[in-house]
Symmetry: C2
Subunit: 674 residues, 2 copies
């Protein structure tokens, strides 16, 4: 808002404080300015200039000179254009500051809203809200859980409203493919199929259409955005394949979802979102589409939502998908790194629960022992499960003789499918009811405590490449080699993202990173190939923006495999120096260049004398430079040292060619004679 | 010696002590007894029984019962035969103890010899000798080097005389192949070719023959054993391919070397050994055979000798060979494990020096950082070398303008061959003489200190599988991935040998080890394949007892390669439960079964579009069981749990088949199109 509108938009409490403190009050339309200069939503240069211009800490002229020198130093590597628009931003900022004339009284009709809504749980009210309000220091130690656990599913109560624009759905253009859902890094786009009758109570502006698909008569379909949780990254809109056409069948340039100013639709969409949440979630066994499809998987409720990851983060869509597929029975061991920060950041936590209260358990450990933590979870679970089985077996012969068939069904249950697991859950529930009736029996009480371990658990060991390729690799290798049923998810940005962009062994040749200021001279370590040398490890390399079906398949196969599994996920990152909205295009180029070969290596196939390695992408179809030079980390070297850049590009291209040929050769091996 | 002979064989000092203390004195011919029972040189059971029989600590009957119970417990896994012969040993021991009647006076003509010879260096006299005598506690702190270094080349002064039998050479049977030399684990068999004229001063019993080979007229050939340092393992005799024939051309059952009671030839061979040492060592550039042959390499003086490794150790021949080929300019970083214990055991150290005083530098570090230590050595050397080059270049333009051509030759020298390196040494020596004449110049003094770094150094990172596959693997991977010129030697016993036989990731499937009491259920980690995934790492898998030429080639290629190299060496071990004398037969079976595939992966070949992987052994020609069941660690499982043993054998055989096919397929890939 400009100087003439802004006053009335400020809460009364803030107005009063400004008046009481006799503050000078300035505004600048920084986002508009940044947008117009080509800076996107980056307003740091503008706000820095504005600060020096109004603060009188130093002479403005000198400050401007210093800022421009810093711009040259900071952005010089990224090319002249970036330097120029930042310098322009400085000059324009100086012109654009407006002082607001202060009235003598606070007259606003707006008040500061409470930090969390009234329906938030007790702990969130007492503790989380205080931390959100910046009053964490006032909390007594006694309010914190004494066993080190921390309540989850609380990110839903912190409405950050950080997006200027959010996507809006056009139900008549939508082809119901689910792509916007599966790529959403923030879990804010949701899709439901539900009984049309439920629309009776829908708010007026709630959008819906008829569900497309076999046997879906009488069902409605809605894509709903969580308006206050969206970060406005625009990945969904960029991905949407449906184009709107006008009456003359001409493209309008719009899609089935389009970016819209958030403030204009916030209030209506808040209500729509609440109504949407009240619609029933489909359990996996009732999905109208197979779980191994985009649409099927995206009808499952994410159990990871609204994390504090960067807008457009390349990691979080994988984490969300993992929780959709297995989250209700997952235990996550998370290495330190971005995924531990957004995964367990205070005050709120993004891992959440189904309507029935089931959701992932999550813990964070160090770089150097995270694989081991997940391994320990598996060993612990197996130990407790075995104990539960022994007691159950014993009781089936004694106190629960009359219910021995139920117990035997539980002990011999097939839990290889979602349906099997849900059936087991119901049976374990029955068993627990029986056990309660035997409460005088010590063994019954003991089993009651641990009966839930009779339901199959899913271990996920999650971390970035700094963990998996470097600091935690010794442990990761040890755990993978130990043969137990654990699943590893590597979020591979090819750089230590969270600590500021240091080189890891996953950093590609020719990229600039900290400790590789002249471009990394060595090729990326091939973690997939390393894991494949064992022969009994399930291995997948995936890129959700290129082949989401393959991504889903890899997750399902990895989890099903009764042994160690590792999934290595292409993960774009702000550290790459790319336009995050269009990041999935970069994923496609990575695969097309042959630098990121999609694959699945399934040891189960060895039993059938089949080649366990299947390549899910084709031979390189574009030169490497067409891929890498979209990223500042590579482009920068071209600017600083074009000769070295060219030599590294040549070597990197040779390495890409060699690796693809090796993979291709291995995928063609005949296993019938082994 | 029996009770009637023994008294006169004891040094006078000991006789006097026995008399003074009124000791009871018993003898037992434990070695003869052990030999006759089939226990080889294992006298522990016999001596334990003898101890209880004469000490009266407890009733002999009870002691015998307890010993037999312990035998059943300890050796039960190794089968009934082993239990029986140990129990027999107990009974026979009781019968064989003889009491020696003591005279009233010490009459021996023998005195206790000094701990080290009179010609040993000052430090050895003052410090090492005291520790050998068991008087280490009496040494003041001030005698120890204050910078943490420790004098090397001292194992030669500690004459342990532990062998009952040692090999003796038959010069007329010998075919001069050098095989006994290359397999000797203790560096006690040496070979020299020298001018016949030098024989003038030879002791009478010194053996020699005419040297065979082109252009060797006038040259004599000798194989000499170090009689007091030999452990009597017999590996050399078992390996010797030359069979003696009598006049009728019938085999006499003897070879070109044969085991002989040490005591009978000790004195004469001591003199022969001393004379042999006085004969000149051939420098590598004067070898009459190429260095990449057994004979050529074995004419080089080992710079690792008489270590405290077990008799017949499978590791030490590789270490010795490494010192023969590169020891005069090697820096060794040794991980904790057997190789660090025998490599730097006090009181004496086996790493030694050439006649000109040049030899390896050695340090020992932890499991978890040894690769990093070697990496740091490389970085340090490069740093100092660069500094030396800069100063030399500077001086060539200033104070040493008149000698600029010498300096330029040094700065541009080709050091890719042994000859090149020796030439460089001479030139650096000249440079140092010049620098001394400039001693007033600060820069000249600085260069004088570091000029030796202008000579090519060779980094060797050495350790066992517990280090390389397990605890140190994270660091090893990191160092290999860092692309620097370091050489890694993995002495792969497939078990934590030094700490008592715990399972490592190198332990083969089905073997019993600590933490794998029921046989390891998972296959051996394939470290060679892991390293090969990088593409820019030289990788070799070797077995000195199977293909010594390939072993030598691998060492030479690895060292020559200007990047990271790793050599994985098959290393038999007492922990395998084998007859150590015949251990090389077991190496052959390992290779024939396909369980240990010999290979070399040389990235240099990629430049020529050739497949970098060459298999140096053939497809499996014997079933796995023919190999593994020669080892107690596998056999034991057959006894304890035959069903599991059989199931693991089946899986292991499948895995051997699969791996060989994968290697074969990879070795056949066409690289011309990459």
């Amino acid at each position: 808002y400009g100087k003439d509108e802004v006053w009335d938009k400020i809460p009364k409490e803030v107005q009063q404080e400004i008046i009481d403190k006799k503050l000078k009050f300035y505004v600048i339309k920084a986002y508009d300015l940044a947008e117009s200069l080509g800076l996107g939503t980056r307003i740091n240069t503008i706000m820095q200039t504005a600060f020096f211009a109004i603060s009188n800490i130093m002479e403005t002229k000198k400050a401007v000179e210093a800022i421009k020198t810093a711009i040259n130093k900071t952005y010089g590597k990224k090319g002249e254009r970036i330097v120029k628009i930042n310098c322009d931003a400085v000059d324009k900022a100086l012109e654009s500051i407006e002082e607001v004339e202060l009235p003598s009284k606070a007259t606003s009709t707006i008040s500061i809203p409470p930090a969390v809504p009234a329906h938030a749980p007790d702990f969130v009210q007492r503790v989380t809200a205080k931390i959100i309000e910046g009053k964490g220091d006032d909390l007594p130690v006694s309010v914190f859980p004494c066993d080190g656990t921390w309540p989850v599913a609380t990110s839903q109560y912190e409405k950050r409203n950080i997006a200027l624009h959010i996507p809006q759905w056009k139900e008549n253009v939508c082809i119901q493919c689910g792509q916007c859902n599966i790529v959403c890094p923030h879990g804010v786009i949701r899709m439901k199929i539900y009984d049309e009758k439920l629309l009776d109570k829908a708010p007026k502006t709630f959008k819906h259409t008829k569900a497309k698909g076999k046997d879906l008569q009488g069902k409605a379909f809605t894509i709903q955005i969580a308006p206050e949780d969206c970060t406005g990254c625009g990945v969904c809109v960029h991905t949407c394949p449906a184009l709107e056409k006008d009456e003359k069948n001409q493209s309008t340039g719009k899609k089935a979802i389009n970016m819209t100013p958030q403030i204009e639709i916030r209030e209506q969409e808040k209500k729509n979102w609440e109504f949407f949440l009240s619609l029933p979630d489909l359990p996996v066994e009732q999905l109208p589409f197979p779980v191994n499809t985009i649409k099927g998987s995206q009808l499952l409720r994410p159990l990871f939502e609204f994390s504090g990851a960067c807008a457009g983060c390349g990691e979080t869509a994988y984490v969300r998908l993992m929780t959709q597929l297995f989250g209700d029975r997952a235990l996550v061991a998370n290495a330190t790194g971005c995924s531990s920060i957004y995964g367990g950041n205070l005050p709120t936590t993004p891992y959440c629960v189904r309507t029935d209260g089931k959701g992932p358990v999550w813990t964070n450990s160090l770089f150097e022992d995270n694989a081991e933590i997940g391994f320990g979870m598996r060993l612990g679970i197996e130990q407790i499960k075995t104990k539960a089985q022994l007691i159950a077996d014993d009781l089936a012969k004694t106190a629960l003789k009359n219910n021995s068939s139920l117990i035997n069904e539980i002990l011999t249950a097939d839990q290889s499918t979602h349906e099997g697991i849900e059936t087991q859950r119901l049976k374990v529930k029955q068993l627990k009811t029986l056990l309660k009736s035997l409460s005088s029996e010590d063994r019954a009480n003991e089993l009651l405590d641990i009966a839930d371990y009779l339901i199959k658990k899913s271990i996920w060991i999650v971390g970035g490449d700094g963990w998996a390729y470097d600091i935690g690799y010794g442990g990761l290798d040890h755990v993978l080699a130990a043969g137990k049923n654990v699943n590893v998810l590597v979020l591979d940005t090819g750089v230590y993202s969270n600590t500021g962009g240091q080189m890891s062994k996953a950093t590609p040749m020719g990229a600039i990173a900290k400790f590789a200021a002249a471009g990394k001279p060595l090729p990326k370590k091939d973690l997939a190939m390393l894991a494949m040398t064992y022969g009994n490890i399930y291995v997948a390399r995936i890129a959700i923006g290129v082949n989401p079906m393959q991504t889903i398949k890899a997750f399902l196969e990895a989890e099903k495999y009764d042994g160690p599994s590792i999934i290595i996920a292409y993960t774009h990152c702000i550290a790459h120096g790319i336009n995050m909205t269009e990041a999935l295009d970069q994923q496609k180029k990575a695969v097309a260049s042959g630098d990121w070969i999609l694959l699945r290596y399934n040891p189960e196939l060895l039993k059938e004398k089949k080649n366990p390695l299947q390549l899910d992408s084709k031979a390189p179809s574009i030169p490497l430079e067409e891929y890498i030079y979209n990223e500042n980390r590579f482009k920068a070297l071209k600017t600083i040292d074009p000769e070295r850049a060219s030599s590294l590009l040549k070597s990197a291209q040779e390495e890409v060619n060699r690796r693809f040929k090796v993979y291709e050769h291995m995928s063609k091996m005949d296993y019938t004679q082994t």
